[in-house]
Assembly symmetry: C2
Homo-oligomer: 355 residues x 2
C-alpha cells in the first residue's frame, strides 16, 4: 500500500468539520517524509503553488479540501452568505496553478454544491461541503483502484514492470494510475518488481516513483533513461506501464518526454506496452495525437537541474516536455472501466461512454 | 577547429627538450577553460588519475610526454642509465589508471625506444624520446584526421548529426572520432549542426561534447537522452555518429550506455547510424558482441551525480557503463582506412589488415 498523498482528518469523531488537511510535502522527497497539516486555505494555496502537492488528481483533492478549510471557521449568519464565502475562497485557490484542469474542475464542483445547498443552515452547509471534498478524494481513490484492478489482471507473480516518470500514488489521492496495478497486485499477494526510469530533466522517476515504491515495500530498481534498451535486451522487463496526460480518440497518447522512445524500444524487444489513465484523460475531440501541442520547457531544467551547472553557459537546449506515442505502439489502454484494446477508435469510445 | 587537448611545448626553437606538456584541465569544464602546464611527471600522473586528461588516446599521449618530462632534467652519465630512469618513470605513470589500454601501450613504446637507443649520448636520447612522444601525439591527430576525412564524405551542408557521449577532440589529441567528420567538414566550409545527448549518468555530452563544439563554433543543441526519439520523429536528425570502445569481428559495437537505444530509435526512423573508431578499437578475436563483458558502475553516479542526492537513500540501482549495438543496426563503421559497410566480417578484416 502506498503512502496516502492527501487526506482530510476530522478533529472529532461525529462530524467532518472542524478538521485539517494532511498531505505529503513532495518538495521534501526523496530526502524525508514530512506531512503538512493545515486548516489555512492560504497554506493550501502555497502547497499547490510550490508543488508540495502535485499531479492533477491530487491537486483537485487539495483544492476541494482547501475550500472547506477556508469556510469551516466562518461566522456567516446564513447558508447563502457561507456559499458566497466558499466562492471567494475558491476564486483565490484557482490562482495557484494556471493550467491544472482538475484544480478548476474541483473548485467548480465545490462552489456548485455550496450554491445548490445555500438554503441549509451554515453548520449543515459546512458539513455538506466537507462531505463533498471527501467524496472528491474517495472518487479519486476508487477510480485509481479500478484502474489497478483491471491492470492487475495483466500481471503475473515474478514479473518485472518498467515505468517512466511518476504516474503513481503521489500524483493522485492513492494508488496512482500506472502504478495502481502493482499496488493492487501486492495487496493480493502477487509480487512484481519494477524498473523505474529516472526521467530527466526533472527526475520524477528517481525522486518520486522509486521513493513511493520503496515506501510500499515494492522491489524497485532505478535506471537512467538511456539504460532502458539494455535492460530490455537483457530480458529483465516483462511489460511496460506508463500514465498519460492526454489520449486522442484514436489512442495516440501524450505523456512525459521519453515515453515514445520507451514504446519504440518495447516494440523492438516484443514487450507489451500499456497506458493506464482515467477516462477524464481521453480527449475524444482530437482525431489523432498530431493535434496535441507539445509544450517546450526552459533550458535551465536541463542545464542546471541539480543545483549546479552541468552544461556550458549559453548552450542551446531543446526540451519538449511531452511526446506522443502512436496508438500502433500501444498494446492496451487501461482505464477505470476496463481494458481497451485496438482498434482504439472503438474501444476508447465504449469506455468513454460509460462515464 | 576544436581546442588542442594536449600538446608538447618546447622552451626553445631548436630542440624539443627542455619543454612542457600543455593540456586542457577537463575537470574544470564546462565552467572554464584552464590549461595545465607542467614538466613534472608527478603532475602528469595526477592529471591522468584525476581525469584532468581523459579518453584513451589522449591518456596515451599524456603518458608518453610524461616520460619525457620525467627524464629531461636527468644528470644520467650514459644513455643506458637514462633509459633505466625512463623505465622507472614509466612504471610510476602506469599506476595512474588501471584499465587504460593506450596508457600501457604508450609507456611500452617509450621504454622500448629508450632501450633500443641506449647507446646514444644522454642529450641525444632525451631529444629522441621527445620526438617519439610528439610522434605518438601526431599519429593520433593524423588517425583522427583520417577518420574525419572519410566520415566527412557522408555529410552534406545543412544536415544535422545526433551524437551520444563524447567521442570528440577532448578524448584524443585533436578532432576526436565521432566528431572528427564535423570538424573536417567545417574546415571545408560545409556547415552541419549537432544534437548532443547529455549522456547520463556522467553527462559527457552536456559537459564535454556541447562545450567543445561551441568552442569550435559548431551549431550544437543539447537534449536529454530521453528526447532523442521525439527529436528524430520531428525530422530534425539526418544521421547519427557515435564512437566505440570495442568492435567485434562481426561489427557488433560496445560503446557508452545508451548507444544501443539510439541505434534502435534511428532504425525506427530510418536514419543512418554510423560508428567512428580507429582500427585499434577492433577486437578481431571476438566473434560477436556477446563476448564483450559489460562493466557495472557504482549507484552513486546515478543517485548523487550532481552534488546532491536525487534519489531515495538506499535505492537499488542498475547501472551498466556500456551496451552493445548489434551490427545489423549499424549503417557503416568508419576507421582511419576508410568506410566499412556490411557485411562487416569482410570489410572490417580488410581495414584491420591495413594496420
Amino acid at each position: 500500500m502506498p503512502v496516502h498523498t492527501i487526506e482530510w482528518v476530522a478533529d472529532g469523531s461525529d462530524t467532518l468539520v472542524p478538521g485539517r488537511i494532511r498531505l505529503v510535502d513532495q518538495t521534501k522527497l526523496p530526502g524525508e517524509l514530512v506531512f503538512v497539516e493545515t486548516c489555512d486555505p492560504q497554506e493550501v494555496w502555497t502547497a499547490i503553488k510550490t508543488l508540495q502537492v502535485r499531479g492533477a488528481p491530487a491537486i483537485g483533492v487539495a483544492a476541494a479540501m482547501g475550500v472547506v478549510a477556508g469556510i469551516q471557521g466562518s461566522n456567516a449568519a446564513t447558508g447563502a452568505a457561507l456559499a458566497e464565502e466558499a466562492a471567494g475562497v475558491a476564486k483565490r485557490l484557482a490562482t495557484s496553478r494556471p493550467t491544472a484542469v482538475n484544480l478548476f474542475w474541483a473548485l467548480d464542483r465545490m462552489t456548485g454544491v455550496a450554491k445548490a445547498n445555500a438554503g441549509l443552515a451554515p453548520a449543515e452547509l459546512k458539513e455538506r461541503l466537507a462531505q463533498e471534498a471527501v467524496k472528491v478524494h474517495d472518487e479519486d481513490v476508487a477510480m485509481c483502484r479500478a484502474i489497478g484492478e483491471h491492470g492487475a489482471t495483466l500481471l503475473r507473480a515474478g514479473q518485472t514492470v518498467l515505468t517512466h516518470c511518476n504516474a503513481g500514488g503521489l500524483a493522485t489521492a492513492l494508488y496512482g494510475t500506472a502504478l495502481a496495478p502493482i499496488y493492487v497486485a501486492q495487496e493480493k499477494g502477487v509480487k512484481v518488481s519494477v524498473f523505474a526510469d529516472e526521467t530527466r530533466p526533472l527526475l520524477q522517476g528517481a525522486r518520486l516513483t522509486a521513493w513511493e515504491l520503496m515506501q510500499a515495500g515494492v522491489d524497485v530498481t532505478l535506471i537512467c533513461d538511456n539504460m532502458a534498451a539494455q535492460v530490455m535486451k537483457e530480458g529483465r522487463i516483462d511489460l511496460v506501464m506508463v500514465g498519460a496526460d492526454r489520449i486522442a480518440a484514436n489512442g495516440d497518447t501524450a505523456n512525459k518526454i521519453g515515453t515514445y522512445g520507451v514504446a519504440l524500444l518495447a516494440q523492438a524487444h516484443k514487450i507489451p506496452f500499456y497506458v493506464l489513465a482515467p477516462t477524464s484523460t481521453f480527449d475524444m475531440s482530437l482525431g489523432s495525437g498530431e493535434e496535441i501541442p507539445i509544450e517546450k520547457r526552459a533550458s535551465e531544467e536541463v542545464t542546471c537541474g541539480f543545483g549546479k551547472a552541468t552544461a556550458p553557459e549559453g548552450v542551446q537546449v531543446y526540451s519538449p516536455a511531452f511526446d506522443v506515442t502512436p496508438a500502433a505502439l500501444i498494446t492496451a489502454i487501461i482505464c477505470e472501466h476496463g481494458i481497451a484494446r485496438p482498434p482504439f477508435a472503438e474501444s476508447l469510445r465504449r469506455c468513454h461512454a460509460m462515464v
